[in-house]
Symmetry: C2
Subunit: 348 residues, 2 copies
């Protein structure tokens, strides 16, 4: 019989219906993202040397002492060419028909170029490049927390056309927005309530539970980061990356934690490709809102959702997800892949 | 400048960024759902005459006095071949790792065959067939409200593979589930709060506002039903169908209202096809939970979301939607199409 699992960190429920089910490796065939051709490379506005094809940079990371010589930038952040939100005056307004309400579309919308190399992916980026990428995220969080109009900074990544990526060059995006996103507000509410009841961070408890859980949903851990398939996974191969130490803001990470976070992303990229070719995915970083430093009840985390299934009328109408692959099975398959390729650094 | 619009009926926000934008007709090219071929017709388990290829029927509607003679059933409801939920004992359980929680996957999962004819769609079904379909929905709502274990009945429809339909024969689905879906719970919370504050149903106020609003978002109305593009449309061509009279349960409809609801669905189907070829879409009916008859603060409604765009990392991470087409423009385009084809029965 299937289970209707409650996500302890949100109001999401998941129908885990594994009888309909597929094995983890059954998703492989339909997954792979196509490799770029030469025409695509020639017109890519995010490649090194094509800087004049992209909007102006708002941030660039260069090797120490490298700028101005024959060096390559390491990461680069540009304004989105088609921004959903722009700088401007933040106003809260009644619609002409009184009952409705809107804010002016003030905010930021940036494209973070993950690497100068078009063919880089989380799975094949050198560790140093992954570290630079995480440091670039940290830099952009620091930048936006100074904008008094903004309430939230969301960093995310779409990989592959099925996940909504319109460019194949490795890139992430940032949206700074004057409201707290409803999905985050829901997590904040649940976490606050848990803290009031248990005097403990819900996510700290979750990590502790996952680290000792049997059957295990752990996929990978290093000194400071834990990666696991969440109990109420909405989608096959959904993953969470979380710091083991309590931390509500991404930019609170130490250099050691940044290195471990970069390692976790690389190992995840590799093990997903091993099992599923090059699956399209969305990656979203959930952090505390701007101007709430050091929240005791909230804990930043990264959500990774491969786009292998199509949410339809049931999911859109209910907010409940039907998932046909148990996260326990997903975790085992990913662990086995990591174990075979990297005998060290493996969770249990 | 774009607007960040708040949906008054939920916690959803929408970034309306029309500068990036397309005109309503620009969505046509990518939209059309393919027509079925002969091989598909031969193996279709939902066609008349193929009843032995489908699971057993739990309900059939026949013409008056027709059954047993050389007649065709009008609509038919069968169990889903791969049910996410099944009959059984409802138990609430702690996971072995204490912190987590699940219910046994008890419930119902039915396929409603909209018509015996494979090529029927909302856009081309005779009025009588649409009425039979709405009556079949009513019958299934009545059936499931007697199941003491269930909390909610969700009727929905996926049209086209991009909307998650695995069969092209016209069909709807029903899921009966022992929890109130989070998306509905959120609407209930908002509506309850509005009622406490305003002593009026939020949806009744919304309909009154839309009926007199300028610029108009109304698409169609008849004596008892209103169809409009919602103020905070998450997707291009998102629509709502609502009864003008206050009603929290779908099965409260009178025969006249059932006829008008059927007409509204048919007109919507036609006008969407006129503008967009045969767009894939999801249709979801939101009603009050089982065993809460006559709720004063909640009002049933139908949500229609064409699947022309792909929610990606931003939408999944935030619960905020970026929409590039204003609902005011969508409503005008659909109204113009209706006006040209049907000079009578048109809203304003």
């Amino acid at each position: 019989m299937s289970q209707i699992r409650k996500d302890p960190a949100s109001r999401t429920w998941v129908v885990l219906a594994t009888e309909r089910g597929k094995r983890p490796s059954d998703f492989k065939a339909s997954a792979a993202v196509a490799k770029p051709d030469q025409a695509e490379l020639d017109r890519c506005p995010l490649c090194f040397g094509h800087e004049d094809m992209a909007p102006p940079a708002v941030f660039e990371m260069w090797p120490a002492g490298g700028r101005g010589r024959k060096m390559t930038w390491i990461t680069r952040v540009v304004e989105n060419k088609y921004p959903a939100l722009r700088p401007g005056e933040l106003l809260s307004q009644e619609d002409v028909n009184e009952f409705f309400h809107f804010l002016t579309g003030v905010g930021g919308h940036e494209v973070i170029v993950d690497s100068p190399k078009h063919t880089d992916r989380l799975a094949n980026m050198p560790h140093g490049q992954l570290v630079a990428l995480v440091k670039t995220y940290v830099q952009r969080y620091r930048f936006w927390r100074n904008d008094k109009r903004m309430a939230y900074t969301l960093v995310f990544k779409n990989y592959g056309p099925e996940a909504g990526a319109s460019l194949s060059h490795p890139h992430s995006q940032l949206v700074a927005i004057p409201i707290i996103p409803p999905r985050v507000a829901e997590e904040l509410d649940e976490a606050k309530e848990f803290y009031a009841r248990e005097n403990e961070c819900l996510y700290c408890r979750m990590i502790a539970t996952e680290l000792k859980g049997k059957p295990s949903r752990m996929v990978f851990e290093n000194d400071t980061m834990a990666v696991f398939a969440p109990y109420a996974s909405r989608f096959p191969f959904e993953l969470r990356v979380m710091p083991k130490r309590h931390m509500s803001a991404f930019e609170e990470m130490s250099d050691a934690e940044i290195g471990d976070c970069a390692q976790a992303l690389g190992v995840m990229g590799k093990s997903m490709e091993k099992l599923l070719s090059r699956p399209p995915y969305n990656l979203m970083i959930h952090v505390a809102p701007i101007r709430t430093p050091g929240l005791l009840y909230y804990h930043w985390h990264i959500e990774i959702i491969p786009r292998l299934t199509l949410p339809a009328g049931f999911e859109w109408g209910s907010g409940i997800y039907i998932n046909t692959v148990a996260p326990e099975e997903v975790a085992k398959a990913l662990r086995d892949g990591i174990k075979r390729s990297r005998p060290s650094n493996v969770a249990r």
